[in-house]
């Protein structure tokens, strides 16, 4: 039922329409350090909420952006990245995306292209960045340039969840961009996109039951 996803309060995504609620998603391969980055940023506040049925983890954070207090929900995958694809509800209403790879494993860098493509299918306009994690393992990597995302103008960060380098900076900048995106949908194009999305949603409402079943059928291990 449509109520199925709605009946879990954490997954009621209507709240992301309100001004004070922001949704930021993390993407990237298994073991690149997505969860460790969340943990490093949130420190004592780190209270992940496991939604194992959906193979995802939510982290709630309150931030002051500009002079506004906003409630930020960070969405992290808990194994869904295995399917090299995320359920549409993961992207739904997201206001920014943090894409992570592991500087020690080339394959995780190569796979960014697939993650980015899927992101843009659902969210053509939201701010996104590329994060090179684990630079503590070999600082020399920071002398190299990684060109993925340059063309699209995506900000790039060298970070380490282990020693903390640039983690807080990256999260703060992304929260700011998410709020900016939300407050001033950048241009006419964006408004059109939003209309399209809403339209798409209305259309989908009717068969969200089928969507749900499809999710379960595709990934029985997830339950």
């Amino acid at each position: 039922m449509a109520g199925d996803i709605g009946s879990i309060p954490e997954l009621d995504q209507k709240k992301y329409d309100s001004d004070e609620q922001v949704k930021i998603i993390c993407l990237g391969d298994s073991a690149v350090g997505k969860s460790k980055l969340m943990e490093r940023f949130l420190m004592d506040e780190y209270r992940p909420q496991q939604l194992s049925t959906y193979a995802l983890t939510l982290y709630k954070h309150t931030a002051t952006v500009g002079n506004k207090t906003v409630a930020v929900d960070f969405w992290d995958t808990a194994g869904q990245e295995r399917f090299q694809s995320m359920h549409p509800s993961y992207y739904h209403k997201a206001h920014a995306c943090i894409m992570v790879f592991d500087v020690q494993r080339k394959i995780t860098y190569k796979n960014l292209a697939g993650w980015y493509k899927e992101l843009r299918e659902y969210r053509p306009e939201i701010p996104c960045c590329v994060v090179a994690n684990k630079i503590d393992a070999d600082l020399k990597v920071t002398e190299r340039s990684f060109n993925f995302g340059k063309k699209q103008g995506l900000p790039f960060y060298f970070v380490s969840a282990a020693d903390g380098t640039n983690v807080v900076k990256m999260f703060r900048e992304m929260m700011k961009r998410a709020v900016d995106y939300k407050q001033n949908p950048s241009d006419f194009m964006d408004e059109v996109m939003q209309e399209l999305e809403n339209f798409d949603l209305e259309k989908k409402e009717g068969n969200s039951e089928a969507d749900e079943d499809a999710l379960k059928a595709e990934s029985p291990e997830v339950v």
Partner: protein, 158 residues
Amino acid sequence: MSYEAKRCGVQFSPPSIVLFYEDKETKHVRKRVMPVRNFSKYSDYSMAAERLKNNPRHRDYLENVPQSQLEKLHIILRDHMEGLSLEHSLASFRLDPDEDLNKLDDDELARKKGQMDELFEKNRRRKDDPDFVYDVEMDFGKTTQEKCSWDEESDDGF
């Protein structure tokens, strides 16, 4: 009294963790066999490792042995109880930078993450470190950048 852990390993029967350590007072290297009790192939290796590390009889000796190392030794014991070879266990820990970790199941992935944890813990700055800084910023933009070889066989996405 202070001990410095030198090396550790396992003994299959009875299932035990073995530690070689140096007694800092006498400078002697000694061997300590720590039987692992109530541990079966169904047991949680991470809890068992924690139990051993906190065991009042052993904890002084295990102080500078990382939890991840103890977990690995418990995994080897558990694999053995399931009839898997030592070679299999060791291979499951090995990190191959070209391996696609998206393809692994939970248990296999946890082993690789356990292996990664060794470097992670070593390089980790903790909140209770005296020189801990929450917001560490470093600018890498200005260094002369060589082109990354990972970009070479560039395709449409890059």
